[in-house]
Symmetry: C2
Subunit: 659 residues, 2 copies
């Protein structure tokens, strides 16, 4: 069996003070909670019925299918999250539960390898008739990811065998053959899943099928149209308008072949899931054209259409991208899952080219939008992550209908919490990347990793208190000296990194964002990397009309924001001082352990609002008075009372005489 290019999580232990808490939350809160939800055992939660759907499909229970057409994926994502947790810490009870679920899934699989409870129970005759709208390949993809993860975690082959049969079945249905479907999914996911499966099976059919789905995409005559005609022009989502998923092909990035796509468009989650698969395929098959497409679309997304928080998707309608530099802060969609997908895309790009830019974006998304997606209590979640919130306006203006000022109990919809569990459970895959010539350290997260270097092995320990403290200690352990290369990422946000090797300061030479250290490593070698974390004022490209005259604060990887709880109401009347004098302040209460930032600023002098006219003439520009501002990390917002929040703050700017 071929070795994966990913880190084997069995050989990774997270020791990080910051992340341990999150992993504990996933293990102790999110996974049990979700298991109960999948079994409809959560009081006053909307029913999930996901496990029961499998029982019915397996003939072990009577009843009707219930839930979304992609309800199966909730079970698959839960299993995948369980798998990653088991790699790092055995848990007999959890494993036994998972084994039971896997047997149930196996029993629900059809003799021909087909596996999908919606179509098996509700519409067997409609299999593969609505790729554009019905998530059949999306669910298959998540099940494949779960099968691979569980096999990697436990070595147990059952679910892997199930998904291999499923993949073979799909391979028979789709392809260039006269009697095959020349289609591809409305919601990408199968592509990246087949690439992951191929890493375990080394079966060329799996790679070829992934390539087929990627290369068919956007071809004319258009598959969505032909299948739409074949099924009599029916639409699964007809309540949302006439077949718009078929008509608006850019919504699922199917408007053009990927090789011809120039910009990041459509549903943001679909886009990054698709590109994660394309990047993986380009890497494994050394496909330069696909690498160029990945690079081109990555650049458009991250240089024109990404929020400072690593959020993507500027609008609610279609949960989609809009246009270059159109980044409204208050009506943003910026779905948590989209930033998770952005990390997946970045991870695959890193495996292809060791460029710190990918890791910078990955870190931005992780420490800001992804973390903001879950409350500090691990029990409440955001789908939508705006950069500016004004609760009074949300209540009265319908352009904010998609925005929630406080996190919701996750079971209102089940796509995001398990995704957060997946990503936190498999964090090791993002911290380190093992390339042919180096071990990349992408993220500074306290951990202990042992890597297999062919005949030898090397253990790397990271210790620190990132993202709060600037010093990271690394130490090496190996039975015999090993000659290899360690590459330490030098974040773009850090103005002056420095490194000490075994007590000796060494000159840092960055190559595309990494400092490469090639030498013979011996047990006891130590590295002390210092990444100074001054508070930095961030400003936007002049094309971003929403942010002109405004600045945001960032320290290390963390973007900060103002909250009403600390700064009073009407945050739009606050302004950052020109003087960049910042004080770091220790958070208290629910923010204990977090580093806050105090900055000098001013606020429009408080006047009895109602007494003032709506519009006033001349002279009396609103008087301002000094008013210190307190910023908290964006990922911590909305963990206190409901209130206003904003990331981009008006800025006092030098007065340039006009002549």
């Amino acid at each position: 069996m071929k070795q994966s290019s990913d880190i084997d999580l069995h050989y990774l232990t997270l020791t990080d003070p910051f992340w341990r808490d999150y992993q504990r939350l996933v293990r102790d809160v999110v996974l049990p909670y979700q298991w109960a939800a999948l079994n409809d055992q959560v009081a006053d939660a909307q029913p999930s019925h996901a496990i029961e759907n499998f029982r019915i499909a397996a003939g072990q229970s009577q009843g009707e299918f219930y839930g979304m057409v992609f309800q199966d994926s909730d079970v698959a994502k839960w299993l995948e999250a369980v798998a990653w947790m088991l790699c790092q810490q055995p848990d007999e009870g959890l494993e036994t539960t998972a084994d039971g679920v896997i047997e149930l899934i196996a029993a629900a699989q059809q003799p021909d390898g087909y596996l999908n409870t919606y179509f098996t129970v509700k519409a067997p005759e409609a299999r593969w008739t609505n790729l554009a709208e019905c998530h059949e390949l999306y669910c298959a993809g998540h099940m494949i990811e779960a099968g691979v993860a569980y096999y990697r975690a436990t070595g147990k082959p059952l679910l892997l065998q199930v998904v291999c049969r499923l993949a073979d079945h799909i391979d028979g249905i789709f392809g260039p053959g006269e009697h095959q479907l020349h289609g591809y999914p409305g919601h990408p996911e199968i592509e990246l899943a087949l690439m992951i499966l191929h890493e375990v099976t080394d079966n060329p059919r799996h790679l070829e099928l992934a390539r087929y789905f990627v290369e068919q995409r956007g071809r004319e005559p258009h598959f969505y149209d032909s299948e739409y005609q074949r099924r009599g022009c029916t639409s699964y989502w007809h309540n949302y308008g006439p077949a718009w998923m078929v008509l608006d092909k850019a919504y699922s990035q199917a408007h053009l072949p990927i090789a011809q796509q120039e910009t990041a468009v459509g549903h943001a989650v679909r886009f990054v899931y698709l590109m994660a698969g394309v990047a993986h395929l380009a890497h494994v098959s050394r496909d330069e054209e696909k690498r160029q497409s990945c690079r081109r679309l990555w650049n458009n997304m991250t240089q024109r259409r990404m929020y400072i928080t690593g959020g993507i998707g500027s609008q609610s309608q279609g949960e989609a991208f809009t246009g270059d530099y159109d980044l409204p802060n208050d009506t943003a969609y910026t779905e948590s899952c989209a930033s998770i997908g952005l990390m997946m895309f970045a991870r695959r790009m890193l495996q292809m080219e060791a460029d710190g830019e990918y890791a910078d974006v990955m870190e931005r998304a992780l420490y800001n939008t992804v973390l903001a997606g879950m409350a500090l209590d691990g029990k409440h979640f955001f789908y939508v992550n705006p950069l500016e919130v004004h609760p009074a306006a949300i209540r009265c203006n319908h352009i904010y209908d998609h925005v929630k000022p406080v996190r919701q109990q996750w079971f209102g919809c089940a796509c995001c919490p398990p995704n957060i569990a997946r990503i936190l459970g498999s964090l090791g895959h993002y911290i380190y990347t093992q390339t042919e010539d180096a071990l990349l350290v992408n993220l500074y997260i306290g951990s202990e990793l042992t890597v297999d270097l062919g005949s030898q092995s090397l253990t790397l320990r990271q210790r620190g208190n990132y993202p709060w403290d600037e010093v990271i200690e690394l130490s090496v352990d190996c039975p015999v000296p090993v000659t290899t290369t360690l590459a330490l990422r030098l974040p773009a946000w850090c103005p002056s990194p420095s490194l000490i090797l075994n007590g000796q300061a060494i000159l840092l030479e960055a190559r595309r964002g990494y400092a490469y250290l090639t030498r013979q490593w011996s047990a006891g070698d130590t590295l002390r990397l210092t990444l100074p974390m001054p508070v930095r004022r961030v400003r936007s490209h002049p094309g971003v009309r929403q942010n002109q005259g405004k600045a945001a604060l960032q320290r290390g990887p963390l973007v900060y924001c103002l909250e009403q709880a600390d700064n009073g109401a009407d945050l739009h009347n606050l302004r950052l001082s020109e003087r960049q004098d910042y004080q770091l302040v220790a958070g208290e209460g629910v923010l204990a352990g977090k580093t806050l930032i105090r900055a000098s600023g001013e606020r429009v002098a408080a006047i009895e609002g109602a007494a003032q006219p709506l519009y006033r003439f001349d002279g009396d520009i609103a008087p301002r008075q000094a008013h210190p501002l307190l910023f908290i990390p964006y990922f911590c917002w909305a963990n206190r009372a409901e209130g206003e929040m904003r990331v981009w703050v008006d800025e006092q700017s030098p007065t340039v005489p006009c002549r």
Copy 2:
């Protein structure tokens, strides 16, 4: 027959250079154009079928009803506009055409007095079963307005008789009686129409019926619910969701009795139409409680929920108000018809209390949003009048789906053009208000008016070049000297008005925005009013988060804006200088005759946009360079190429040291 409290337009002649052009447009372009449209004779226009609907209802033609459930109102509004034009200038051809339409309408009236082509032709059994949704009383109201106007204009009684029969029929259907309907309209209009009818007929039933509709509104058990039950829970607009007009009672201001309403809510046009009727009723019936309601709701609307352009309705959904100080400039709805209704409301308030505040708002709406609703060519129209437009964003972000960057040919929908024709045709009703103790001069529009003062009469001539020039000449003519009071409005925008009477400067004492001049007037008396028009910088209440750090320019009644055509793209990168040095500039081309304003300012130094990162750290705050700004009157925007526009412009503000 009782004398109307309105000016008799037969005794008014418009001589104003600014407004003559508009009246000519209405007479020569809008009315003929619309007549052709009503008869489906406009090539590539959507069919109207409005006249044909009346033919079918009259049994003079075979066929099906076509159009909106309120299609009849297009014909009524056209007739009303014709009537007002005929007052000021005879036109045999036009009058003959109108007489023919009126005969047709009379023939379409049912024996019991009922008149509505949709229900007569399409659903006779469904009459009066869906007040909340079907505009039956709204159409009746417009027909009544037309009947009164045509009678006033020509003295011909036919249409007046028709609408009296209609009013009597409605009076039989609605009322407190056991077998009567206790309802009221979803879209107000009948209330103000009955008050106007009452002025001609002096029939107390008409006043009482208006009162009944006004006082029933919002009572529990709710009429919309009971009629909804009675008709089997059907919804006329079911394509737009399940009976939301019934569920969302605030949409039509029916959520509470008017006496209990505290804020301006719901569909903006409905709100101002309703309040125009309530104010008229409160005035005529000396109803203090209703006057208080009008005042209270007027204050909330104009002091918290009105744009500087006199636009109302902050959101597209429901074409509705949102909340206090929520005034987004780019997603605003601010429908042209809503500002016309605002003028109607203001006019009735002025008849009740001579307060310049009402005239200030009336003037603001007229010279900005209402005029902006029609292109300078009189052939293109805006429904939505945003204060900030960015065409590139409109094309890609769905929050702007309701915004058009250029005016549309009016016949795409027929509600606004005839409304503009109505208001411009009856401008005299707004210029002057005759109260018991004075003749109020509200608007400075060149005209000649003769008023009947019982046994005597007085002719007042206004001359000037408003809104461009600050001097207004008034002269009096009367066969014998008359003792009466003239009240000249002193606009809130004018810092230092001055007045010369027969060559003598006189001390101006304003009482609630008017200067009262009581004396014996003789032929040849002259008044020279000077209203200095400095360019004024306007700033918003600190509650308006969209406008903080921004200013708008106003000169006289005109609000100004920046357009891309004069200032280049990316208007958000422009900033007004602190120095308030303005130059008045004569407009050219399509803007010939308009006064433009040049102001010093700065722009973010042009850098090759794409070369810059999306986010940059520290120090390099965007360099700015001096850049003169050219402002044009808001009502003239979008008369050149499609481009960006904004009213509220970033402002260079004094740097206050924070200490």
